[in-house]
């Protein structure tokens, strides 16, 4: 079960991810991320404060956009990860390739850096 809400706050596109990302719901995450990246918004914030669980399929979704983000000069930041979820990112090594901040404030600050 997953619920993703995309809202625009100033010049930041915020994706609010709520629930579990497993093999089936990762498709929704993929659709939302794809739309966000294709919208050509320069700043994307993925708020995972209410993300309980992420499977390898979910990690695969984040992973698959690393190159696109780089190529399009998009600033994408993930924030609000629980310790458990962050651990999953860390073990795989994704934290080295994605920008991860602990809070939304930090995340927004990072996005607004010049």
């Amino acid at each position: 079960m997953i619920d993703i809400k995309t809202i625009k706050e100033d010049d930041i596109l915020i994706l609010n991810v709520v629930g579990d990302v497993d093999a089936s719901s990762s498709i929704e995450l993929d659709t939302a991320l794809k739309a966000a990246i294709e919208s050509k918004e320069g700043k994307i914030l993925v708020d995972c404060a209410n993300l309980n669980y992420i499977s390898s399929a979910g990690l695969g979704v984040f992973m698959s956009y690393i190159q696109d983000i780089k190529a399009n000069n998009i600033k994408l930041v993930i924030c609000g990860l629980s310790e458990k979820v962050y651990n999953v990112f860390e073990i795989l090594g994704l934290h080295q390739l994605l920008t991860i901040k602990s809070t939304t404030v930090d995340a927004k600050a990072y996005l607004n850096e010049v």
Binding site: S56, L59, G60, V61, M63, I66, I91, L92, G93, L97
Partner: protein
């Protein structure tokens, strides 16, 4: 005794009895008219007559029951023929008597008596035959109650045969009461006419004709026996005294009359009954129609035929759009051009209520259809054919009268359509099941192939013992482990986990095996190994897939383990000296995540020296992420505690305890992920010889 023998014996016996009856009666008459004491008891002829009737009764009872299929008109035809023969013979005798005129021979009482007895015999044959058939008809679809009444009636009737030959005379009125009793019972039984309902229109007409003729015979015989008999001529056999024959004539006559009237009144409704019967048969055909080796077309054809006959449609079609864009049609009295005319017209004018659901089907289509020149249709009714929640076609029925479809018929068609839908759906499900079964077989083969990819025996070293365990959630999985001996001292060991599970994971796992087996021979450092593996794997992995892995190179000469982690779960290590367990925390990145030369930047080389009794636990996330019913994960702490608790055991036992603990935690052996564990335990080097 077989039935055939009984039938023949009874026929023979009946004939003998009749002859005896004739002779004794004549003899008695002769002796009476000549005042001679015959020495024969007066009751003998009557006894013979009764025996004759009883034999006839047995004969017909078996004869009629032998007819297996109940074809009512055939039964009626049989008694009609019997009646015809009997009347013809009887008429011939009459003509003969008439030809004699008023000669003395015509006045001869013996001749008259003989003719009378012949007539009586013929009547008896006919009556008993009719009785046997009537019995069959009355007892058609019998109930227990009906059977009881009938049996009582039959026994009472049989008893009347005995009544005739009682050695003492009872008053005439008793016989009358007896007859009245039997007639009343017969009347009661005569209301059982179930068989009439099963006659079709043609059979009803035929039956009416046959019963009319049977009634005619009965009338004729009644007349012959009761009418013009001079009571003085026959002494022994006044028919009125024969309760049996009188009751039998009355009963057969009554039932024939009733049947005639009932059939007559049923004539107008018989077409409706026939139609209902046909509907039932059509339902049956629809539900039985498709066998696996047959096609769906058969069902559509039956549906079309059934629908047309149920509503008496003048034309109809079933339209089934195929996947390739063309359309398959099943037609009845209508051609493609007309169908297209109607469809285009309905589409163009946005006429609702024909081919769409949820609308009133009883719309007046007359004015619309009248505009289609060259077609005489005035009403149309359409139905969707839906299988597995998908519309697969439409059924359209046309009539040349306005308002041709009422609610009743609409409902019947609806049920026909749903029955056809069920048939088609079952047929498709069956075919799907066959296909699925084949897939299952294929998967079993894949499972066999894959299990052969995991080594039975890992390349161990004199320095350590190793035990491996792996289970896939589906038939095939994405977990992988392997080992390769590089040289005398070095063994390379790998554990890996392809993201996702099932078939796609299994394919990548087999690629991983290929990559490992080729790279292992090159004696690379663990970091270079992973960098090259990343390049090799990245080319063939899907965009969202990755592989996590850790490689270990165990060198016996230096007593060290060199290892690099590519995003795999941190290895648990037990230091026997310090008696501590730790998870190796080192940098790494999963294979396939960064598909460029930058990958190696994220990989570290780590070294760990080992001592005897050190234990190294490799595993995949299927173990640490296994959940119990509350949704808690097995986790790193629990894993460490379990290993620590059994640290002094052999690797095999430690592994066994770990899996036991895992199952007791989850409460089931069915964990929804692939899970694997490899446990190494280092040991004292054996004394070199």
């Amino acid at each position: 005794m077989s039935q055939k023998v009984i039938i023949r014996l009874s026929a023979g016996f009946a004939f003998i009895c009749w002859l005896l009856y004739l002779f004794t009666d004549l003899f008695l008459l002769f002796s009476q008219s000549n005042d001679i004491n015959s020495g024969i008891h007066e009751a003998i002829p009557t006894l013979m007559l009764n025996l004759f009737i009883a034999s006839l009764y047995i004969y017909y009872r078996y004869k009629v029951n032998r007819v297996e299929s109940v074809n009512f008109t055939d039964l009626l035809w049989n008694i009609f023929v019997t009646g015809l023969l009997a009347t013809l013979v009887s008429l011939l005798l009459r003509i003969f008597v008439a030809a004699l005129g008023s000669t003395t021979l015509a006045q001869n009482i013996f001749l008259i008596d003989t003719f009378y007895i012949i007539n009586l015999g013929l009547v008896s044959i006919f009556l008993v035959a009719v009785f046997a058939v009537w019995k069959r008809l009355i007892l058609y679809q019998k109930s227990k109650f009906l059977l009881k009444i009938w049996t009582t009636f039959e026994y009472t009737l049989m008893l009347s045969l005995v009544y005739n030959i009682l050695p003492f005379k009872l008053p005439e009125t008793y016989s009358l009461y007896y007859v009245i009793l039997l007639v009343l019972m017969g009347l009661f039984l005569s209301v059982n006419m179930r068989w009439v309902a099963y006659l079709n229109f043609k059979q009803k007409w035929k039956s009416i004709l046959l019963i009319l003729l049977i009634l005619l015979y009965l009338g004729y015989f009644g007349n012959t026996l009761f009418g013009n008999i001079d009571p003085e001529i026959t002494i022994t056999n006044t028919i009125w005294g024969n309760v049996f024959l009188v009751a039998l004539i009355a009963f057969t006559f009554l039932y024939a009359l009733f049947s005639l009237l009932v059939i007559l009144f049923n004539l107008p409704t018989s077409s409706v009954f026939e139609q209902k019967l046909e509907e039932v048969l059509n339902f049956q055909r629809l539900s039985q129609s498709i066998q696996p080796d047959q096609s769906e077309g058969q069902v559509y054809q039956i549906l079309l035929d059934s629908a047309v006959s149920a509503v008496m449609a003048d034309a109809a079609w079933i339209e089934l759009p195929r996947e390739d864009g063309s359309t398959e049609y099943f037609q009845h009295q209508i051609n493609d051009k007309e169908i297209n005319q109607i469809k285009t017209y309905i589409d163009k004018n946005n006429i609702t209520g024909v081919f769409d659901n949820n609308t009133d089907k009883s719309l007046k289509m007359e004015k619309h259809l009248a505009k289609l020149k060259g077609q005489g249709f005035k009403s149309i009714l359409g139905f969707d054919i839906t299988v597995q929640d998908k519309k697969i076609g439409t059924l359209a029925l046309l009539k040349e009268v306005a308002d041709g479809f009422d609610k009743e018929t609409t409902n019947i068609i609806k049920t026909f359509v749903s029955q056809a839908e069920v048939s088609v759906e079952n047929y498709r499900l069956l075919n799907q099941a066959i296909v699925n079964e084949r897939y299952k077989e294929e998967l079993k083969i894949a499972q066999k192939v894959q299990s052969s990819l995991l080594p039975d025996q890992l390349d161990a070293n004199t320095d350590f013992d190793i035990s491996a365990f792996s289970i896939a959630a589906d038939e095939v999985g994405g977990d992988y482990y392997d080992s390769f001996r590089i040289n005398k001292d070095k063994v390379i060991l790998i554990i890996g986990d392809v993201s996702g599970k099932g078939t796609s994971a299994a394919f990548h796992m087999s690629q991983m095996k290929g990559v490992f087996q080729s790279l292992a021979q090159l004696d690379l450092t663990s970091k270079d190994f992973l960098a090259k593996a990343n390049t090799a794997i990245s080319n063939c992995l899907e965009k969202t897939s990755f592989i996590t892995t850790t490689v270990f190179i165990i060198d016996q000469s230096t007593k060290t383990i060199e290892f690099s982690r590519a995003g795999h779960c941190p290895t648990l290590y037990y230091d026997s000296q310090e008696k501590t367990t730790t998870y190796f925390t080192n940098q790494g990145l999963g294979l396939g995540i960064l598909r460029s030369d930058d990958f190696h930047q994220y990989i570290e080389i780590n070294k760990q020296s080992y001592l005897p009794n050190d234990v190294m636990v490799l595993y995949t996330d299927g173990i640490t992420e296994a959940q119990n019913r509350k949704g808690d994960e097995y986790g790193y702490d629990r894993l460490r505690d379990t290993i620590k608790a059994h640290i002094n055991e052999t690797p095999k036992t430690i592994q066994k305890r770990l899996i036991e603990d895992l199952y007791s935690f989850t409460g089931t052996e069915f964990i929804d992920d692939d899970y694997t564990t490899l446990i190494l335990k280092f040991k004292e080097e054996p004394e070199s010889i």
